[in-house]
Each structure stands twice: as structure tokens, then as C-alpha cells.
């Protein structure tokens, strides 16, 4: 137990003595000089010693004042650090929220990119097929040609019909003429026969 307290005492004394390099020594010297001054006899020596003691005392008071100010400063620094710490915590929380927000945005952006790529893939396939307008135009042109050709066909057919009818008329007229000519021949043959028989009759 004695060793522990000794250690503590030594530690504390070392700690305290770290500041001011010899404050403790100064107080010891003051006490010694006080005792000497009490025991000294002459007036002048006593006065000078008294002055010296006063100066030592004021030095000690000065260093104590300094230590108190440092202590105050430390307290205020601690407060300042607490404040900064709280601010940093707030900004960390804010950053977390922003990260979550950004993650959502990333997902959204990925969905959009996926949709765009799907669109691109389909568009590529569609591009391979020819343009609809051109195909429609070609279809129209082909349709018109078809109509034109069918018109021509109709007119040719009509002409064919007409010619056929005309030939028919021509042939039937020729036929009739032939018939009439044959009839005429027959009639004239019959007349000649009659005339011949009339000539042989009036002789008796």
C-alpha cells in the first residue's frame, strides 16, 4: 500500500513539476529564506531579504495565475471540441441520408439505362428492315403499274372483240351475197329452160 501511494505521489509531483520548472523549488527556497530572515539580525540584510522574499512570492503568485488561466482555457477548449464533435455528428448523419438518396438515384438511373438499352436493341433490329415509307411508295408505284397494264389489257380485248364482230359481219355479208348469186343463177337457169320449152311448143 505504501508503494502505491508513493508511486502516485511521485507521479503527481512529476506532473505538476512539468510546468514552471522549479515552482516547488521556489516555494521551498521561500520557506527557507523566511526562516533565515526571521533568524537574521541586521536591518539592511533583513530588508533586502524581505524584498527578495516578496519578489519570490509575487513570482509564485504570477505562475499560479498563469496556471489558472491555462485551466480556464482548457475548459473552454473542451467546450469548443464538444461543439465541433456534435456538428460533425450531424454532418455524418446528413451524409448518410445523402448516400441513401444517391443510392436510390443510382437505382433509378440504372433502370433508365436498362430501358434505353432495350430500346436501342429493338431499334437495331428494326433498322435492318427497310423503311415503311419507301415500301409504301414502292407498293403504290407497283399498284399504278398494275392498273395501267390492266387498262391496256381491257382496251386490247375490246379491240379484239370489235374486229371479231366486224369479221363476222363481213363473212355473213359475203355468205349472203354468195347465196343471192346462187339464187340468181338458179333463177336464170330455170328461165332458160322455160324459154327452150316454149320454142319447141308453137311448131304444130
Amino acid at each position: 500500500m505504501g508503494a502505491v501511494t508513493d508511486d502516485e505521489v511521485i507521479r503527481k509531483r512529476l506532473l505538476i513539476d512539468g510546468d514552471g520548472a522549479g515552482d516547488d523549488r521556489r516555494i521551498n527556497l521561500l520557506v527557507k529564506s523566511f526562516i533565515k530572515w526571521c533568524n537574521s539580525g541586521s536591518q539592511e540584510e533583513g530588508y533586502t531579504q524581505y524584498q527578495r522574499m516578496l519578489s519570490t512570492l509575487s513570482q509564485c503568485e504570477f505562475s499560479m495565475g498563469k496556471t489558472l488561466l491555462v485551466y480556464d482555457m482548457n475548459l473552454r477548449e473542451m467546450e469548443n471540441y464538444e461543439k465541433i464533435y456534435k456538428e460533425i455528428e450531424c454532418s455524418i448523419a446528413g451524409a448518410h441520408e445523402k448516400i441513401a438518396e444517391c443510392k436510390k438515384q443510382i437505382l433509378q438511373a440504372k433502370r433508365i439505362r436498362k430501358n434505353r438499352q432495350e430500346y436501342d436493341a429493338l431499334a437495331k433490329v428494326i433498322q435492318h428492315h427497310p423503311d415503311r415509307h419507301e415500301t409504301l411508295k414502292e407498293l403504290e408505284a407497283l399498284g399504278k403499274e398494275l392498273e395501267h397494264l390492266s387498262h391496256i389489257k381491257e382496251s386490247v380485248e375490246d379491240k379484239l372483240e370489235l374486229r371479231r364482230k366486224q369479221f363476222h359481219v363481213l363473212l355473213s355479208t359475203i355468205h349472203e351475197l354468195q347465196q343471192t348469186l346462187e339464187n340468181d343463177e338458179k333463177l336464170s337457169e330455170v328461165e332458160e329452160a322455160q324459154e327452150a320449152s316454149m320454142e319447141t311448143d308453137p311448131k304444130p
Binding site: 440504372k110 436498362k114 438499352q117 432495350e118 436501342d120 429493338l122
Partner: protein
């Protein structure tokens, strides 16, 4: 100062066996727990290991946190596919699907809740179940695999209600198209078929290998992986990894990746894919490769994104494949660490 030389300890039989097992292990499937803090991985020996993601990601993680919390023998054959509901883990292997309770799994000696076998055409067939898909609206489970059919199982009663037939070869992967409730299935026959669940009919068929831009005949026509985003679908495997617009059935973007991809998924505005190379590839929808992050396995078979809202601190991408390790990516840019069986 002398460096410490590690002592050569003679290994016992069991340790040699374990080391050999780990050398030849393939992890086929992964699934995240409903709370988001655990990851289950199934391997080719039929074992399921549960890792604690929250322990491995925490700041005081040690080497033991990267080992499984519990490992148990789930199936006799490989565990090809796993999926989690809000209380159960469903695992499927050779011909059967089993259910386990997540809360029970963390204790030793866990027993399966139920085990069902889809009705096969002959009793001699034991086809493997390659893919499981949960349909939350109907509370049913879709199984697809070696018998070229999609079986629909009701989760409450455990009965198999329908079988969708149409594929001519075994089915590799399934995907759910949420807006119009349709299921996409891709298989070895090279066709991606869309099925309408309400009337159990095949709505659309996309024969990927017939399109010149994406077919790679030297790799085959098999479709190894499928992912869908309602209007868009990405599929890969033998043919090149391609982005399709479903309504017009046209391939819009072809991703220039030579190695066949075994797992693909949409994530935010990217497409993540993994396959024969050791890297996880990140693509933009325009076809550009945004990043290629190497993992620790020589080939990757499955990717899993932990997006459970209850555990935002465990939001990681895990990749597993032809090794006993599961790579964990906390940030898509680099591999943070690996969990190991």
C-alpha cells in the same frame, strides 16, 4: 531467425478420402435461406452444406466461418437443383424431390419433411430433375429434367397435377415470366418453349439453333441457361448467349462469349453470366462486356444473388461450380473470399 517448417503429418485413411472427395467435388446448385443469412449448396455426392453468410461476412470472421455450419447427406445421387420457399428448402436429384425445414436444418440429424417422385411413364425410368421453379401465385412447384416433361406439383397437397409435354429431349432450365404467367423451358433439343400455365398449352417455340446469327453448330444446339425479364429473354449454351425480344421472337443482341454459358440472370441493368471459363461475366444489354471477374473454380455452374430484404448486409453474389468452393462477391467488381465444403 529460422522460418517454421510445417511438419509433414502422415494422413489417415479418412483424411485422404476426404481430400480426394473435395478434389473431385462439383457443386451443382445453391439456394439462399428465407432470412437471407444462410446459403445452402448441393454437390454431386448428394450432400447439402449450409454456410452462415452473416458469420462469414462479419468483421470478426475467422477461417472456421468459411466452413459449413452443418453438412448432411440429402440424396443418394447428385443434388442438381435447389429452391427455397419461405420456410422450406426443396432439393431435387435423381428422380425425387425432397423438402427440408430451414430451422431444422441447422441442427444435426435433420430429417426430410417429405419426398415425392413425379409420375414417370415407366417405373424403370429414374430421370434426373435438372430444374425446379416455384410459382408463388399458384403455390406450386415445377420440375423438369430427363424425361422431357414439365411436371407441376401442388405444394400443399404434394400431388402432381399436370405434365406439359413438348420437348423432344431432356430439359435443362426453367424460368418464370411473371407478367403473363408463362413458364419458359430450355432443353437439349435446342428449343425454348413457352407454356401457358392456365391452359397447359405450349404458346410459343423459339428454335434458337435455326437462327444464323446465334447458332454455333460446333457446340451443339443445347440450351443450358435461361433467364427472363417479362419482355426479354436471354438464353445460352451451345448457341451463343443471345438476348431475345419475346413478343417478336427476334434475337436482338448477341454477346460475344465463346465459352458456353451455364447460368445467366438479370440484375439491375446488367446481365450476369457464368459458364465454362472461371469468370463471372457482366454484360450490358447493348452487348458490351462490362467486367469479367475471375472466380476460384475452373468452371462455374450456378450463380445466386442474395436479395432477401431481411438481410441487407448479406447482399452478395455467390458462384459455385467444378470445385468444392463457393465464391462470394460482395461487390460485383472482385471476389471477396470463398466458402469451402
Amino acid at each position: 531467425m529460422e522460418r517454421a517448417v510445417p511438419l509433414a503429418v502422415p494422413l489417415g485413411q479418412a483424411e485422404v478420402f476426404q481430400a480426394l472427395q473435395r478434389l473431385h467435388m462439383t457443386i451443382f446448385s445453391q439456394s439462399v435461406s428465407p432470412c437471407g443469412k444462410f446459403l445452402a449448396a448441393g454437390n454431386n455426392y448428394g450432400q447439402i452444406a449450409v454456410f452462415s453468410l452473416s458469420a462469414a461476412l462479419s468483421s470478426e470472421a475467422k477461417e472456421e466461418s468459411k466452413k459449413p455450419v452443418v453438412t448432411f447427406q440429402a440424396h443418394d445421387g447428385p443434388v442438381y437443383s435447389m429452391v427455397s420457399t419461405d420456410r422450406h428448402l426443396l432439393s431435387a436429384g435423381d428422380g425425387e424431390v425432397k423438402a427440408w425445414l430451414w430451422v431444422e436444418m441447422l441442427k444435426k440429424g435433420c430429417k426430410e419433411l417429405w419426398c415425392h417422385q413425379p409420375p414417370y411413364r415407366t417405373s424403370l425410368e429414374v430421370p434426373e430433375i435438372n430444374a425446379l421453379l416455384l410459382i408463388p401465385k399458384e403455390n406450386s412447384l415445377l420440375l423438369a429434367g430427363g424425361d422431357c416433361q414439365l411436371h407441376v406439383m401442388d405444394l400443399e397437397t404434394g400431388t402432381f397435377t399436370r405434365a406439359l409435354r413438348g420437348h423432344t429431349d431432356y430439359i435443362h432450365c426453367l424460368a418464370l415470366r411473371e407478367r403473363s404467367p408463362e413458364v419458359l423451358s430450355g432443353g437439349e433439343d435446342g428449343a425454348v418453349r413457352l407454356w401457358d400455365l392456365r391452359n397447359s398449352k405450349e404458346v410459343q417455340t423459339i428454335e434458337v439453333y435455326k437462327h444464323e446469327e446465334c447458332s454455333r453448330p460446333h457446340n451443339g444446339r443445347w440450351i443450358g441457361c435461361l433467364a427472363t425479364d417479362s419482355d426479354w429473354m436471354v438464353c445460352g449454351g451451345g448457341p451463343a448467349l443471345t438476348l431475345w425480344h419475346l413478343r417478336s421472337s427476334t434475337p436482338t443482341t448477341i454477346f460475344p462469349m465463346r465459352a458456353p454459358q451455364k447460368h445467366v440472370t438479370f440484375y439491375q441493368d446488367l446481365i450476369l453470366s457464368a459458364g465454362q471459363g472461371c469468370c463471372v461475366n457482366q454484360w450490358q444489354l447493348s452487348g458490351e462486356l462490362k467486367a469479367q471477374v475471375p472466380g476460384s473454380s475452373p468452371g462455374l455452374l450456378s450463380l445466386s444473388l442474395n436479395q432477401q430484404p431481411t438481410a441487407p448486409e448479406c447482399k452478395v453474389l455467390t458462384a459455385a461450380g467444378n470445385s468444392c468452393r463457393v465464391d462470394v462477391f460482395t461487390n460485383l467488381g472482385y471476389r471477396a473470399f470463398s466458402l469451402s465444403f
